[in-house]
């Protein structure tokens, strides 16, 4: 007998009591979504920037290699989407669009359609995500309602920059992924 059949057989032989799935109630969450979202992002060690603030940073030239999928900042993009994402290993900044943000924790949902190559938000040195103010939802429950039965091969919530506290619990921003997360709300 295969391991598959023996595992399933063992479980079925136990004849365990079946308990119903609970209904998830409609939990309220924060009234001021924008304020709650911004507080969450800052708490996660991300930053909130206005369009003008980001433009200023981009014009200052601190990010030599920039890739953008967002129309507003496209003129600053000097990198094309590569065939192999390894060639983005020196990328300084990626500007990606997010689908929506979650007020309770600052998480922003992106899937294959925004990412194009899944490694981009991780391999880039710095990351900007642009989302619409109108896209904010209150909690993770509303977030999954909003995702619904969307079928993407990959999707993720990004809530902040790459971070670690593995050395004596001292918080360090910039472990393996992007060293900063800047969020622009439009």
């Amino acid at each position: 007998m295969s391991s598959r059949d023996s595992i399933l057989g063992k479980i079925r032989s136990l004849k365990l009591a079946q308990k119903p799935l609970p209904e998830i109630p409609d939990f309220k969450g924060a009234a001021d979504l924008l304020q709650a979202f911004c507080t969450s992002i800052i708490g996660n060690k991300g930053e909130i920037l206005s369009t003008e603030e980001l433009v200023k940073k981009l014009e200052s030239g601190i990010y030599p290699l920039v890739y953008s999928t967002d129309d507003t900042f496209e003129k600053f993009s000097n990198q094309a989407l590569p065939v192999d994402v390894h060639s983005f290993s020196k990328l300084d900044l990626a500007i990606l669009k997010g689908q929506f943000g979650v007020a309770e924790n600052g998480a922003i949902w992106l899937d294959d359609s925004e990412l194009r190559l899944r490694a981009i938000p991780f391999i880039t040195e710095h990351l900007v995500i642009v989302i619409s103010r109108d896209s904010l939802v209150t909690t993770m429950h509303q977030a999954y309602d909003r995702i619904g039965d969307q079928h993407s091969g990959f999707g993720l919530f990004i809530a902040g920059p790459s971070k670690t506290a593995d050395i004596e619990q001292s918080l360090v921003i910039g472990a393996h992924g992007a060293k900063s997360l800047m969020v622009v709300l439009i």
Binding site: K10, Q18, H86
Partner: protein
């Protein structure tokens, strides 16, 4: 060595053990503050617990549903009855890909299966990419905590280690500097790896997708740069529907480290173009635990580590004292099911204060299960010294005269007997502790004098 003996070793460095205690309490405190900021926190715990009840009652159906959907999405599903089979499956994939070096993100399951030594024996280089895990891997140690693998180490030790392994400046203990050194070192490994291994936080039956949560982004760095992703998942990690992720992701990071959410929460449903995803569903004792009515609920665990951070014994004895892949209260109810003989001292490494149960996001009755395991172990081992003293105590409490006199005798004895007799090896409690000064009279005597 038993848990008390291992704990004694840990407590020898009193400054460090004090730091360990305080640091974990600090994390417990952060968890409290964070959970109190969510008004429906207790509702979420109830929901999570009920969802897991439903999962355990229908596990076979959900596993089949998961397999069907994952396969439809182009994921290759494997089944492993035990650690050996799990390791063989990983090796066979690596051989097929002619891969000699892998990157791996945090997976307690692969620790449980002892995958690293197995692969190394087969001449495969394994690089753990979570910073804490890389540190303990350099030292040849297992993680001492499931969320904070290197919590038993001080930055001075890590600085010395990195000086030796990564050629960092001698004596530079700055956590930022050390983390950047690891970032550069691991980036090379990420860019070169062809196969990446991850654990799984949740597998969703309805969609066939699975979710991996990290703060460092190391799981994603590994899998998106590699051609092949191998995900290792215990069969109990299944949840029925995508909408249930909302409940669990609200609980997991808040319980683990007192964060709102982990910074990266990745949902894998099908491989990127030209790449492969394999998932290995592992039993390794889980179906046996499912058959133990008293201990079944231990399988609800989502591996947040909150019970460790709050446990007065874990905080004061360190993860290694448990000699089990999952230490702390939850480990002490999971591990005896795997090897009762080896882990027989673990259910006694608890004050039964119940704090673990209070913080558990899926409401596992951990302290009650610890108590039940004690009974199983005592049955298996016969009468112990502790039991004899309980019998003696029972006799004393039955007779008022014996009770009165025993108090007088003890007060006298504790004052006058040599310390070596009071803190003898049979009195494990006396280790590292001093009794308070003995009063001259009993409370009863004091009351009669002052209140009558």
């Amino acid at each position: 060595m038993s848990h008390p003996q291992e704990a004694t070793e840990f407590l020898k460095d009193s400054a460090k053990s004090r730091w360990h205690d305080d640091t974990l309490w600090f994390i417990r405190d952060k968890r409290d503050k964070m959970s109190h900021s969510v008004p429906e926190w207790e509702d979420l715990r109830d929901l999570a617990s009920s969802i897991k009840d439903n999962v355990l009652g229908n596990l076979a159906d959900y596993l089949e549903e998961f397999e069907r959907n994952a396969t439809k999405n182009g994921i290759k599903v494997h089944w492993a009855a035990d650690a050996q089979e799990h390791n063989e499956i990983v090796l066979s994939i690596l051989k097929e890909k002619e891969c000699k070096a892998i990157v791996k993100s945090k997976s307690i399951l692969t620790e449980e299966c002892h995958l690293n030594p197995f692969l190394e024996k087969n001449e495969i280089e394994v690089v753990d990419t979570d910073l804490g895990e890389r540190i303990v891997q350099f030292l040849g140690q297992p993680p001492s905590h499931i969320v904070l693998p290197a919590i038993h180490l001080k930055k001075g030790e890590i600085s010395e280690l990195f000086h030796e392994k990564l050629n960092t400046e001698k004596g530079n203990e700055d956590p930022y500097y050390l983390t950047q050194a690891a970032r550069h070192h691991l980036r090379e490994k990420f860019l070169a790896a062809k196969v990446a291994i991850t654990g799984v936080n949740f597998g969703v039956a309805e969609t066939g997708e699975f979710v991996v949560c990290t703060n460092e982004g190391n799981a994603d760095m590994g899998v998106h740069l590699a051609d092949t992703h191998i995900a290792c998942m215990g069969i109990e990690k299944i949840i029925p529907k995508r909408t249930h992720l909302g409940v669990f992701l609200r609980l997991l990071a808040r319980s683990a480290t007192g964060q709102n959410i982990t910074n990266y929460n990745s949902h894998f449903r099908s491989p990127e173009k030209g790449k492969e995803i394999h998932i290995i569903l592992v039993d390794n004792g889980r179906t046996a635990q499912l058959g133990r009515e008293n201990f079944r609920d231990s399988l609800k665990c989502i591996r947040c580590g909150a019970c460790m951070n709050t446990c007065p014994i874990y905080r004061r004895s360190g993860g290694f004292s448990y000699k089990s892949t999952v230490p702390g209260p939850i480990g002490s109810i999971l591990s005896p099911g795997l090897d009762l003989q080896k882990h027989s001292s673990l259910p006694f490494a608890s004050t039964l204060c119940g704090s673990c149960t209070d913080v558990c996001p899926v409401k596992i009755n951990i302290h009650e299960q610890l108590y039940l395991w004690r009974q199983e172990i005592t049955k298996a081992q016969g009468t112990s010294v502790k039991e004899l003293s309980m019998m003696l105590g029972n006799g004393v409490f039955k007779s008022p005269l014996a009770y009165n006199y025993s108090g007088k005798i003890m007060r006298l004895a504790l004052k006058n007997l040599p310390k070596s007799l009071i803190y003898n090896p049979l009195n494990v409690w006396g280790k590292q502790r001093d009794l308070p000064a003995v009063p001259k009279e009993s409370f009863k005597e004091w009351y009669q004098k002052n209140r009558s």
